[in-house]
Homo-oligomer: 120 residues x 2
Amino acid sequence: MATLNRPGTADGHACGIDTAMEVIGGRWKVLILWALREHPLRRFGELRRLLPGITEKVLASHLREMEADGVVRRVSYDEVPPRVEYSLTEDGIRLNDALEPLAAWGRDRSTGPRSRDEPA
Amino acid sequence: MATLNRPGTADGHACGIDTAMEVIGGRWKVLILWALREHPLRRFGELRRLLPGITEKVLASHLREMEADGVVRRVSYDEVPPRVEYSLTEDGIRLNDALEPLAAWGRDRSTGPRSRDEPA
DNA sequence: GTGCGTGGTTACCCCAAGGTGAGCGAGCAC
DNA sequence: GTGCTCGCTCACCTTGGGGTAACCACGCAC
């Protein structure tokens, strides 16, 4: 997706961070990752219920992209009504781990003292 | 900015990751962060030259948002021609540090063996 | 006077990500 | 038959982030 001229790629490529940003660069991607970590092996409908507000279209397209990116595994059973189960791959788990410091940073600034640099 | 109903905020709020994503959720933000880490205390024009492809408008608006988010410090001198210097705040430095595992993940998957989960 | 260089702002446009709502295909309950 | 479930797909529309380009004020060099 987004095969536009990657910024920072001019000088070779920035640092690998852009690669990661492409993978998690979707409104719901990190939340899907998080949901799949806390609730492994979920079905489509369960995932949708875990992410209030997401639409089927967006969930489906995000899951397909994440599958193509190798962070999500999709297993569909030939049943009726259809059953599909999603889980994290090893790479997805490692991505989730790599996201933790960022989450910690966000948590820290939400709860921590607000008197470091910003006046308000 | 973006006071839309945050996904994941329904259940309290996801994990702090969304906070971080809001701060770095701009096409060039992480690259600005990176540039400012490798070249501390840069002027507007220098920054623009460090980020080939970025436009003045986008650089200016991103810098303002990042200043409002408390990750970038802006110091302007009352001279002519005008001089403004940008640098990272403590929070910005910590954000950059928190980004490193993500960069490592991206670097690893770019260079590492491509035979873990994805077939190609 | 003209031009240059600085660090922006303003107005406008564009396109892709995301949202909306409908439909589908197969089997089962009734 | 009708309607329901499940996991999508399709067609359409809207939103806003980002891109384009012109302009500004100020001093200096010419």
